[in-house]
Structure formats: C-alpha cells, structure tokens
C-alpha cells in the first residue's frame, strides 16, 4: 500500500495582512497524479511554493516525502522537482549548460546525471539541440528543457505549475505525453493547471482551490457531484429546453441532438423533469444518470465558493 507523499494539514499563508491560502488540508499518495485547480490568484502557486520549501507556511503543517516543510526544506528541495510557470532558463547558456548548472547545484555525480539528462533530452525531442543557446529555443522546447531540469535529479515528487501554458497544441501534447510518461514511472505528480481537459486526462484526483480548498475528489466523483440526467427523446431535444428551464427549481438544460442533459440540485427532482418533458409532448426513449462536464463542476465551485470538501473517491 503506498504511503503519503504529501500530507497538508490546515496549511495557511498570509502576506502581511492579505491571506493567500487558508487552512488547506489534503493528502496525496505516493505515485498519484494530483491536480490543483483554481482561478488566477486562487493560491495554487503559493501552495506549491509552500510544499516545495520555497515559502514558510504562516500556520498549519505539511510533510512532503516525509520532510517537514518548515524544518526539512533543504532536504525536501533535493527530493522534489519544480517546473515553474515561466521556464526560467538562462538564455545565453546552452541547453546543456543550463542542465549542468542544476546538476552541479544538486551535487550529483555529473557524468551519470548528464547521461540521464541526455536520455530525457532524446525522449523529449531535444536530442542534438543541447549545444544551442537556450535563448534560441522555441517556447515548447524551452518548456521541455525546463521539465528535464526539474527531473534531472530524479525527484520522487514533481510539481508542475501550468506546464502547457502558452504552448501551441503540438507542443502542449508533447509536454502532456512527457507528464504521462513521468507518471507511469511511479512518481508523484502535482499538476497546477487551468486546462481542465488536461487535468481530466492526467490526474486521478483533483483539489479545487480558491483561497481555501473547495473540493478534493476523484475527477469522476466531482463530475457526478450534483445530479444530472441525460434524457434521450424522439426527434430534436432543443424545443424541450424551455419546458425544463421553466420548472420552479431552475434546472440547467443543454440539448445536443436527441439528448437533453439536465443538471439539478437534487436527484429527487428527476421525476418532476420527466413529467415536465412528457407534458411538453416529448416521447422519452431513456433517462440515465449523466456526468457533468468537469468545466461546469469547476465553475460552479469557484463561482459559488461553496461545496466544502467533496467526498474522497
């Protein structure tokens, strides 16, 4: 049974009087890919900085890979990798020099670490480009080089802050594939992202943050939070949208061909929806529970700031 890679309890950070994050409590298991979602300024980066030993928490505790983030920060930084939102490369230095610098800073066996770095460079399509100045790299190449830099010391946990931000679709896909590959090696990955499909694809669980933790759950459990039902009708479903929306409990309704997806506050409202559709003349073929798009769940959470902690699923 895997142990805990991250155990955060009531973690808070204030900058002067301004609270950045308050009372975050969550756990991440070893080998898990955990997504941290939240709007800009929600405290994702602050959370990552506390968990990587860059910022001291104002209150609360966290252990990452067994190290207390307050007292074991230096040892912690040896064992985690961080990909910052900006690649932060030295443009005049070559790709190789950028990597060798971090190999030296980590006091690694330089020959072995460089051999490992070269393997990663090959794998990420940067092989043969390592002697070129990093300033001449494309945005995607810079991001991939930054990923190699973040993992060259073989960290057990990797924190990725917006790894595909600003990349073209092809480069973003390469980076996503690289993250998936790292995950397949059994490393713990914490992925901060606005890209919900990316999070959905890569992460087993997500935490939604907006100053505080709004929900922690599996992606699937989150998508099932709140009731939703997919009703297949005969013919086009679009004319039925208004009939559903007119119900007193104001359900959401989205038509797509013959399927009408209705989102509700409570499961107990489903019979009322079916009755309203029948009254509107619909011929119903099936009605099955539907998962809501993650985007919709996420927006509901951050707009309402409600929800509390979702069930761990």
């Amino acid at each position: 049974m895997p142990g805990l890679a991250i155990d955060a309890r009531e973690l808070s950070k204030r900058f002067g009087e301004r609270p950045a994050v308050e009372a975050l409590s969550f756990q991440v298991e070893e080998g898990e890919v955990f997504g941290l979602l939240g709007p800009n300024g929600a405290g994702k980066t602050t959370t990552v900085r506390m968990l990587t030993g860059l910022l001291r928490p104002s209150s609360g505790d966290a252990r990452v890979l067994g190290h207390d983030v307050r007292t074991g920060a230096e040892r912690l930084r040896r064992e985690v990798g961080l990909l910052t939102e900006q690649p932060g490369l030295y443009d005049r230095l070559t790709g190789e020099e950028n990597l060798r610098f971090f190999i030296k800073l980590n006091e690694l066996d330089e020959a072995a670490a460089w051999a490992r770095a070269r393997r990663y460079l090959e794998r990420f399509g940067l092989g043969g480009r390592e002697r070129e100045p990093a300033g001449s790299y494309s945005k995607g190449m810079r991001q991939k080089l930054a990923i190699v830099r973040a993992i060259v010391h073989e960290p057990k946990a990797i924190f990725l802050d917006e790894p595909t931000s600003g990349l073209d679709p092809e480069a973003a896909r390469t980076v996503r594939d690289a993250v998936a590959e790292l995950a397949s090696e059994g490393r713990t990955i914490i992925l901060c992202s606005h890209n919900l499909p990316e999070v959905e694809r890569l992460c087993s669980r997500v935490g939604v943050v907006k100053g505080r933790l709004l929900a922690v759950s599996t992606v699937r459990a989150l998508r099932r939070s709140g009731a939703a039902v997919a009703v297949r009708v005969e013919g086009e479903a679009a004319p039925l949208v208004e009939a559903v929306k007119a119900l007193p409990f104001s359900p959401g309704a989205l038509a797509d061909g013959e399927v009408l997806t209705v989102t509700l506050e409570r499961d107990s409202d489903v019979p009322e929806v079916i009755a309203a559709l029948v009254r509107a003349g619909a011929r119903i073929h099936s009605a099955v529970p539907a998962e809501r798009p993650l985007e919709e769940v996420y927006l509901d959470l951050v707009r309402g700031e409600g929800g509390g902690e979702g069930g761990e699923g």
Binding site: R49, L54, R78, T84, R92, E97, E107, P133, A146
Partner: protein, 269 residues
C-alpha cells in the same frame, strides 16, 4: 564539502554559471574593458605630457601651486609625474568598484528580470551560497581586471618615463599596497552595494545606475586631491581602505539579510 554550512560545490556551481554567462555577454565585456582602458591610458598620456618636455617653465608654475617650497634644483616634471601617479590611484579605485557593480547587477537583478530566480531557489542552494557564489563571480574578474590594468599601467608609464627621463617610476610601494590590498576591499564594496541595491530594484540597468553613484565620493575626493585640498599618500589610502572595510562588513550583513529565500520569492516572482 561544507564549510560553516556552506556547500563549496554549490558555491562553485553558481560561480561556474556566472562566469560562463559573463563570457557570453559581449555587451557587458565591452563595458568592463572600456573603463580600464581609459584609466590606464589617461595617466600614461599625462606622464608622457610631463616627461616629453620636462624643461617647460609652466610645469614649475604648476608644481609650485602644489608645493611652494619645491627646491629650485628639483625637477618640476618629476614632481608633477610623482603627484599625478599618487593622485591617480584614487581614480584607479573607481575600477575595482565599478566592475563588480556592472557584473553583480546583471547577476542578481538579472535573475529577477529573466525570471530565473524561482527554479534557482527551488534547488538545494542556500541564499548565503548564492550571495557568495555571485559575489565571487564579480570579485574575481574585478580584481583580475584591476591587476591586469595595473600591470599594463606600470609597463606604459615606465616605457614613457624611461624614454625621456631614463627612470622606471612604477610600481611604487604605495601602488603595490593599494592594488594588492585596497583595491580588493573596494571591489568588495562595489559588489556589496550592487547586491544590496539589486535585491531591492526590478532591473539590472536601474541597479547599475543607482549603485554607480557610489563612485561619486571617490571621484570627488580625487578632485579635492587635484585641487590641492587633500594630500594623497599611502596613509591616506590606508585610511580609505579601513573605512571601506567597515562598510564591507555592513554590506555583507545587509546582503545576507536581503537574500532571505522567502523575501526573494515573495517579492521577486
């Protein structure tokens, strides 16, 4: 290997990176070489002017301004050359101050500008190791450039003076003491100023401009020497060195305080 909690390999890594970055920064290299070129050629030109025509009566008039008791038998040209060489050391000190300012501003505020500070601080390197590594990366070139410039200065002055006066004037004990002891102290001062200023401003260029103002008192004192108000010599420069040593200690303390990881991350990113 760790000395007093400082990991030498990590300091070496910072120094290694900074020196590579410096080597590839052609604009900065040109700036670094321009100042020594001026500070070496100007006094050689002055010595040439005096030595070329030592019997010029106007030289005696000038010499008597500085020393009304100058004996009639004494060479006014040699007196003025000697005074120029002594006074010029004050101006020469601008070099060991200014070179580290140019380098350290790039090395410290440059991290902020290029947004490279966060990955750097996410590594195991400590703030103190960063300060030491980056300071060495500016002090070593600054002292090396000062010493090379001094060597070129000696060769140039002696070539000129030998040709006309058949004497080798350099190096003097005062210059050897000054370049060997005082100049490194001033380099440390320039670096300290640049590190402290760079930690508080957003851009390397602004850090250079503000830090560069610390050479003004030095230039002002040289002005007072040339005006005959201050009389320079070994003791005079030794006192300057002692004052700068105290300032160096204060700047080191301030630099380490300002390089707190938390402060850098929350202010610089």
């Amino acid at each position: 290997m760790a000395i007093g909690g400082i990991h030498v390999r990590r300091v070496w890594a910072v120094l290694w990176k900074e020196l590579i970055d410096l080597r590839k920064n052609r604009g900065l290299l040109v700036s670094l070489l321009a100042l020594p070129a001026v500070l070496v050629t100007v006094p050689i030109g002055t010595v040439f002017a005096y030595a070329n025509n030592p019997e010029d009566p106007s030289l005696r008039t000038m010499a008597l301004f500085y020393d009304p008791n100058l004996p009639l038998k004494a060479s006014a040209a040699l007196f003025l050359i000697d005074k120029a060489l002594v006074d010029w050391f004050g101006m020469f000190l601008v070099m060991p101050i200014f070179v580290p300012i140019l380098i350290s501003s790039q090395a410290v505020a440059g991290e902020k500008e290029r947004r490279t500070i966060e990955p750097l601080l996410a590594s195991p390197v400590t703030a103190l190791e960063l300060v030491v590594g980056k300071s060495l990366a500016s002090l070593v070139p600054a002292v090396a450039i000062s010493w090379l410039a001094f060597a070129a200065f000696c060769v140039g002055v002696d070539a000129v003076s030998w040709r006309f006066l058949k004497v080798a004037l350099m190096p003097t004990p005062m210059w050897l003491f000054g370049v060997g002891v005082i100049a490194p102290l001033f380099a440390f001062f320039g670096n300290g100023i640049a590190v402290v200023i760079s930690a508080r401003v957003a851009e390397a260029r602004l850090a250079q401009q503000i830090s560069g103002m610390c050479v003004l008192p030095v230039v002002g004192m040289v002005g007072l020497q040339i005006a005959g108000v201050l009389r320079a010599g070994t003791e005079y420069y030794a006192v300057q060195g002692a004052v700068v040593l105290v300032l160096d200690a204060l700047l080191l303390f301030a630099a380490v305080k300002l390089f707190d990881r938390e402060r850098l991350i929350s202010r610089w990113t």
